[in-house]
């Protein structure tokens, strides 16, 4: 009886059956990280409190081998033809009206949306975050039911400083390791954003969240719906990630 009790206590104290944060983060990373080039159509619907909805459409091309991506705005009319090109460390914004390229920072807003340049970068989750621990040094992971889906709920904290949020809570589906919900906190522990990953599609053996909702918890009434469609994983031409291509396409 004593042995059973000790085993039970051990199980409780070590969180038997609960995966580690690193393991879950790696699983998430493996689920999402595309080895191929990718192109897709991205649609952002922004709803701001007291204002109508704003629809932003763009074409997105990404090549991981040299950390490049190209974004071409296709809507709204005021943004149509504008673009963003990143090749290695260089990040340019192209303005159709003036036909000029301008160097911009990673935190530049894309097409007047709340999305920033670094949101389109591919950075390893495990390089950015690690599991947060409670006062007893135990990782903050628990089992929960989200809707009707069994999930792992885990708290993670930033390992580096150049991330938007230093603290996040993930709800990861137990059956397939997909992220279903995420809450992001400021360094003063204020809830800033809740994200829901509503629908995934499988492309080349990897999962792509094709329907996401980002709710601004700080400024109530603001939310952004992100939809990804037309995903193609065939190899992209080198010429695509060049200034002349963006310039010609925008004409």
């Amino acid at each position: 009886m004593r042995t059973i009790l000790l085993i039970a206590l051990f199980v409780v104290s070590t969180g038997f059956g609960l995966p580690g944060a690193d393991e879950l983060l790696k699983r998430l990373e493996n689920n999402y990280k595309m080895g191929n080039d990718i192109s897709a159509t991205v649609s952002l619907t922004q709803q701001k409190a007291g204002q109508g909805a704003k629809l932003i459409n763009m074409l997105y091309y990404r090549r991981d081998t040299d950390n490049s991506f190209l974004i071409i705005m296709t809507g709204p009319e005021s943004e149509k033809g504008n673009g963003y090109l990143r090749v290695g460390d260089n990040f340019w914004m192209y303005r159709r009206n003036t036909r000029t390229f301008q160097h911009v920072n990673r935190d530049e807003n894309i097409g007047g949306s709340d999305a920033k340049g670094d949101d389109f970068e591919t950075r390893n989750l495990t390089e950015l975050y690690e599991g947060a621990k409670d006062s007893s040094g135990k990782e903050i992971i628990s089992e929960e039911i989200l809707g009707k889906i069994p999930v792992w709920k885990m708290e993670i904290k930033a390992k580096v400083k150049d991330v938007d949020y230093p603290k996040k809570i993930y709800w990861v589906q137990q059956s397939n390791g997909l992220l279903l919900k995420e809450t992001a906190y400021s360094s003063s522990h204020t809830l800033m954003q809740t994200s829901y990953y509503l629908k995934y599609t499988q492309v080349a053996g990897k999962f792509v969240p094709v329907n996401q909702i980002f709710i601004d918890e700080f400024e109530k009434g603001n939310k952004t719906i992100l939809e990804i469609s037309g995903i193609v994983t065939k190899k992209l031409e080198d010429a695509l990630f060049t200034k002349p291509y963006l310039e010609n396409l925008s004409k």
């Binding site: 290695g88 301008q102 911009v104 920072n105 400083k161 949020y165 400021s186």
Partner: protein, 588 residues
């Protein structure tokens, strides 16, 4: 004789009262407009320079931006900057730390963009400056701007009545802000409204004011990190530019180096190499024979170790080298890791022989995260000499921006900061005369336009003066003949006419000046509520602001006098040249 001429001139002036009066009114009006417009242009300049820019940028400012991002205003070794400042500040000058960041403010059911500004209560302020600051914060509904210092309240904030109205806030309410901190992370904070003020000018409407140390805490500044420094001077026109030049000369960076050690193996110096294409083209040949993954060595996290250091420390290509070093502001040593992608070996000593060269992107992340202590003497001896080839290819502690001459150069340079993608912090010493040279241009343009407008007005008035003099001479031709017959010299006749015009102009312009002062007083009594109107730039506390200067008044009065005398000279000379007999024969 001189008194006789003066008497004749005065008598003649009073003889034609109506004519003199009308002419005097015209001259006085011109003088009034000239003095008034000059005072207005000076007032505008005074508002922009001394009531706006002085508080926004100081007379001289030292500003910083990290990684080419204008909004990341931070310098991680603030004590060093402050030491340089204190050593070179002229007497009767003061400095304060300056922070201003854009953020999202949430009030009661309303949200708006605001600028969060830190008020440095530790700044050395004179009683006059304190009074001036109070004038800028005319509180509505009681309170004082020093309420920001209240330590019993969480983040006290002052905001303008316009901002308070828009955000639906009143004194005692709570507002929230969302801001990006110096690390690029979103931060949220609660602010308590301790006062609402009437903005002194349009530029005071948007910012919200919080005590500096609280702003620094919200934005994640460490105890030795500063955002920027504003310096105010007693005589800015004389001292600002020389001070900025002096600071520029004393803020030149040294080579950035992390002098550390690999545990149990030996010492190692870490340098950043400049990663722009032009620098890499020059650097690669100097590295001699490169072995290992050369492509990886020049990526943003690339690191190249000298072959001799690798041998000495027992490190191979692909190994992770863990270097610990003493930070300047932290008693405990810190350790950093780099993956050695390649080894370099050189025939000559163009680059340090016992060193790890790291791409500046990664190097500056480490360097700024924990600013290293200065190398000891024996380590300093190993550093590349100033001006050497290595010195130009390796990363400096920061990038000191060249001094600018005017606003256009300032704008051009800020564009280049983004374009050149500096990984280092940029340091910029500038004066408000450079950043605000457009204001000086505006003031000069305003004065020039006014001068030309008034000159045209005077041209019309002077046609009247000439015409009046011609009529006077015609009327007094026989009198001139009589005066000449009884012995008055030609020049005396001429001078009497010139003096007559001169006296008229002098009295008229003096009266015009007095009228200008009266007009200034009356116009500045009006209150204009144009808080949301760009015209608010012309106002100080809702009133028109005039700043007459003694030099301006004397100068313009002399100008009017000179023009009047020159105009009168030719008809007066013609009158003086009339033969006495012919003049006496004259009859109308």
């Amino acid at each position: 004789m001189k008194s006789v001429i003066l008497n004749i001139s005065l008598r003649n002036l009073l003889r034609q009262k109506r004519r003199s009066l009308l002419l005097g009114i015209a001259i006085a009006f011109g003088a009034m407009i000239l003095v008034l417009s000059n005072a207005f242009a000076n007032g505008l300049s005074d508002i922009l320079f001394n009531k706006v820019m002085k508080f926004v940028t100081g007379h001289v400012s030292v500003t910083f931006s990290e990684k080419g991002n204008m909004f990341t205003q931070v310098f991680r070794d603030g004590d060093r900057i402050m030491t340089v400042l204190k050593e070179h500040m002229p007497p009767h000058s003061a400095y304060s730390e300056a922070i201003g960041v854009f953020c999202r403010g949430i009030g009661n059911g309303k949200a708006d963009n605001v600028i969060l500004v830190g008020i440095d209560f530790n700044a050395q302020t004179t009683p006059e400056e304190l009074e001036e600051a109070k004038q800028n914060f005319k509180m509505i509904g009681g309170g004082d701007f020093t309420d920001l210092k209240d330590t019993t309240i969480e983040n006290p904030v002052l905001l303008s009545k316009e901002k308070a109205k828009y955000l639906n806030l009143k004194k005692g309410d709570l507002m929230r802000i969302r801001v990006t901190d110096i690390n690029g992370q979103y931060q949220a904070a609660r602010l308590n409204v301790v006062g609402i003020f009437e903005p002194a000018n349009i530029f005071m409407s948007t910012p919200i004011f919080v005590e500096l140390s609280r702003v620094k805490k919200i934005l994640g500044y460490g105890p030795h990190e500063i955002a920027g420094v504003n310096i105010t001077l007693k005589n800015p026109t004389r001292d600002a530019i020389p001070l900025a030049d002096t600071l520029f000369n004393h803020l030149k960076p040294d080579l950035a180096v992390i002098s550390g050690s690999v545990k149990g193996r030996g010492k190692l110096q870490i340098f950043g190499y400049r990663s722009d294409t032009t620098f890499l083209k020059r650097l690669k040949p100097l590295l001699g024979q490169l072995t290992g993954d050369t492509a990886a060595a020049f990526r943003s996290n690339g690191a190249v170790l000298s072959k001799s250091a690798a041998t000495g420390l027992g490190i191979s290509i692909g190994d992770t080298v863990r270097v610990s070093y003493s930070p300047k502001y932290n008693p405990s040593p810190v350790s950093v890791r780099f993956v050695v992608s390649a080894l370099y070996s050189m025939a000559d000593a163009a680059l340090p022989q016992e060193a790890l060269l790291v791409n500046e992107s990664r190097f500056y992340d480490v360097f700024y995260m924990n600013w290293p202590a200065a190398p000891i003497a024996e380590e300093s001896a190993l550093l590349p000499k100033k001006g050497s080839c290595a010195d130009s290819l390796l990363a400096p502690e920061w990038v000191l921006l060249d001094r600018c001459k005017n606003t256009d150069e300032v704008k051009k340079r800020y564009k280049e900061i983004g374009k050149l993608k500096w990984k280092a912090v940029t340091v910029d010493a500038q004066t408000m005369y450079e950043t605000g040279s457009d204001i000086l241009k505006l003031e000069s343009a305003l004065k020039l336009i006014t001068l030309w407008a008034v000159m045209i007005l005077f041209f019309i008035i002077l046609i009247g003066v000439i015409n009046t003099l011609r009529m006077t001479i015609r009327e007094r031709t026989r009198e001139i003949g009589t005066l000449r017959s009884i012995g008055m010299q030609k020049k005396d006749v001429r001078n009497s006419f010139i003096l007559e015009t001169g006296l008229l102009s002098l009295f008229a312009s003096l009266i015009g000046t007095l009228l200008a002062f009266l007009a200034m007083h009356l116009l500045s009594l009006f209150y204009f509520d144009v808080s949301d109107n760009p015209m608010g730039i012309l106002l100080n506390n809702g009133h028109l602001h005039f700043l007459p200067t003694a030099a301006g008044i004397v100068g313009y009065n002399l100008l009017i006098l000179a023009i009047a005398v020159i105009t009168a000279f030719f008809p007066a000379r013609r009158a003086a040249n009339l033969p006495p007999a012919a003049a006496l024969r004259h009859y109308e």
